[in-house]
């Protein structure tokens, strides 16, 4: 009997070992490695000086250039998250209460996840470009005499990010609205609450975990974005991930790039930890169910 039990106890670890090995070797060890690497130095000749040097960290943390871009990145991520919440919440509410059309609306909501990110991002050039749909229409209607320069600024970066992330927000809010017992709202109504009151005091608070999950995804994914500012932003709209790419691929300053990556990881990690403390990771998994 003892051997059967021992086998039973070993079984899950045998099943887990390939995945755990992959995550350890390809994620955790590399992350530890860049922590160590960020204290090395890259000399002008391109050789690494092994040791414990604070130079990269000093540069990353005190240079106003990096600080400003970090703040700009967080600002863009915050605006994107708020816009996604404002646009997405009513839509998710409608889907959750839609009755007959719900299956179709949900299917349509899944489609953007299957459409390539780069194509969805560049599609805005067709709409807002100098010879895009909007300018063509304005010219044709005689509202403007020459095409407006609408693209390549902060607003279009946010627009592209919202377009990319809105389905994540709607899906997460929908999942939590769907889980709310409808009779609670009816009970509030029968006790004399107006529909607006029962929404504000019953439904909205109960759907906050979904809103938080959607918000976290929107914030983390937009703060780490690399492509959107390059396709839809102007020359001054670089975000933090663009800095990291510059340091690693263009300047080949790998230790500095490590320090910058870890800075981004730390800032977003704090957010994930706060979220995990108040809401918990299982809420995020619900979106996949």
């Amino acid at each position: 009997m003892a051997t059967v039990e021992a086998r039973e106890r070993r079984q899950p670890w045998i099943l887990l070992s390939p995945a755990l090995a992959a995550v350890t070797l390809l994620l955790f060890v590399p992350l530890l490695f860049i922590v160590v690497y960020s204290f090395w130095l890259r000399t002008a000749t391109g050789a690494d000086v092994v040791g414990f040097h604070l130079d990269n960290w000093q540069e990353a943390l005190t240079d106003p250039f990096y600080r400003d871009i970090l703040l700009f990145t967080l600002k863009i991520a915050a605006i994107t998250t708020i816009v996604c919440g404002l646009m997405g919440y009513p839509a998710a509410y409608f889907i959750a209460r839609a009755g007959g059309n719900r299956a179709l609306l949900l299917l349509l909501l899944m489609l953007p996840f299957w459409i390539s990110y780069i194509i969805r991002t560049m599609s805005w050039i067709n709409i807002l470009g100098v010879s895009g749909a909007l300018n063509s229409m304005l010219l044709w209607l005689g509202i403007v005499d020459e095409p407006l320069q609408l693209l390549y600024n902060q607003t279009t970066v946010v627009l592209g990010l919202v377009h990319f992330l809105l389905p994540f927000m709607i899906l997460n809010v929908y999942v939590s609205l769907e889980g709310i017992d409808r009779t609670l709202e009816q009970a509030a109504n029968s006790l004399g609450a107006t529909r607006w009151q029962s929404f504000l005091e019953v439904t909205l608070p109960l759907s906050l975990p979904g809103l938080a999950a959607g918000g976290l995804l929107c914030f983390v994914l937009s703060a780490g974005t690399y492509i959107t500012p390059l396709v839809l932003g102007g020359p001054t709209d670089a975000m933090f991930a663009n800095l990291v790419f510059e340091a690693i691929i263009t300047q080949l300053n790998w230790p500095l790039g490590s320090a910058l990556s870890l800075m981004l990881l730390a800032v977003l990690g704090v957010l994930v930890a706060i979220y995990n403390h108040f809401v918990g990771m299982s809420q995020l998994a619900k979106g996949f169910g």
């Binding site: 039973e8 079984q11 899950p12 099943l15 887990l16 390939p18 995945a19 755990l20 992959a22 995550v23 390809l26 994620l27 955790f28 060890v29 590399p30 992350l31 490695f33 860049i34 646009m87 009513p90 839509a91 509410y93 409608f94 889907i95 609306l105 349509l108 489609l111 953007p112 299957w114 459409i115 390539s116 194509i119 969805r120 560049m122 599609s123 067709n126 470009g129 010879s131 895009g132 749909a133 063509s136 377009h163 983390v220 780490g224 690399y226 492509i227 390059l230 396709v231 933090f240 991930a241 990291v244 690693i248 691929i249 790039g257 990556s261 981004l264 990881l265 990771m281 998994a285 996949f288």
Partner: protein, 262 residues
């Protein structure tokens, strides 16, 4: 109160238009006969699709993306299904920690993951190469596979397998004749998910890909550097048909597999 509801309905319609109109314009413009990838439409034409077919760089990118996506799907789903089986069917100490560790690659920003893996493997003297690209794609598709497969595995309890064995099936028979057919839809969903995410990835790919190798997204990105052309719109249309059509087909197949086993 009716007006409040119609307001929400109108808002939802606008939100859906916002999500789909730009993509519809890509498809529309890909059939534009005009030289330039823009309005006005001057006529209906398939010429840009024909040109795609003769563009070697794009065909090469498609080949790379397909091979990479397929290998990623197989490896990632194998790892993910085994891990999900352990998480769903066994109770053991540290389970929560293990689940979190397995979804960690989505909690780390993709740029950071890309940098860490690239620098670590360069340190081990493994150059930017196709295997590095593959390892990268496996690690960041794994969490999605684990989440999707777990969601579908919840229904498969061990009792069914044990019932088969108590009726005289060997463990091997029970696995191949009972468990595996029940697992098939989950495996299929995981592979499809991994393939699509790999096929669509661009950020990590830009860090890991060796010079001269392009996947479809990085090829589109490189082409965008010049300006938007009707050819890019046509390529976009092909991608949309592939990435939307495949999962829809997949869902149909999965339903077939699911209904046959029930």
């Amino acid at each position: 109160m009716l007006s409040g509801w119609s307001l929400i309905r109108a808002w939802t319609i606008l939100v859906y238009l916002f999500m789909f109109l730009p993509v519809a314009v890509v498809v529309l413009l890909s059939f534009n006969a005009s030289q330039f990838g823009s309005f006005p439409m001057t006529g209906f034409s398939f010429r840009w699709f024909v040109e795609l077919w003769h563009n070697d760089a794009i065909l090469r990118a498609f080949r790379v993306s397909f091979v990479l996506g397929a290998l990623t799907a197989v490896i990632s789903t194998t790892l993910g299904v085994l891990a999900s089986l352990a998480l769903i069917r066994y109770d053991f100490r540290g389970k929560n920690l293990i689940s979190t560790a397995l979804i960690a690659p989505i909690l780390v920003p993709e740029v950071v993951l890309a940098v860490a893996l690239l620098l670590f493997l360069r340190f081990l003297a493994i150059p930017k190469s196709f295997p590095l690209l593959l390892m990268g794609h496996v690690i960041f598709t794994l969490p999605f596979v684990v989440l999707v497969v777990q969601a579908r595995l919840v229904g498969i309890r061990r009792d069914i397998e044990e019932a088969a064995m108590s009726l005289g099936a060997s463990p091997r028979q029970a696995f191949f004749e009972v468990t595996l057919p029940l697992l098939a839809p989950a495996i299929f969903a995981g592979m499809l998910f991994a393939f699509t995410i790999s096929f669509d990835d661009i950020t990590g790919t830009l860090f890991w890909k060796p010079g001269g190798v392009e996947t479809v997204p990085t090829q589109i990105f490189a082409m965008l550097r010049n300006s938007i052309s009707p050819e890019i719109n046509a390529l976009g249309t092909v991608m949309i048909v592939l990435t939307v059509g495949l999962p829809l087909l997949g869902a149909a197949v999965a339903r077939r597999l699911g209904s046959r086993t029930n």
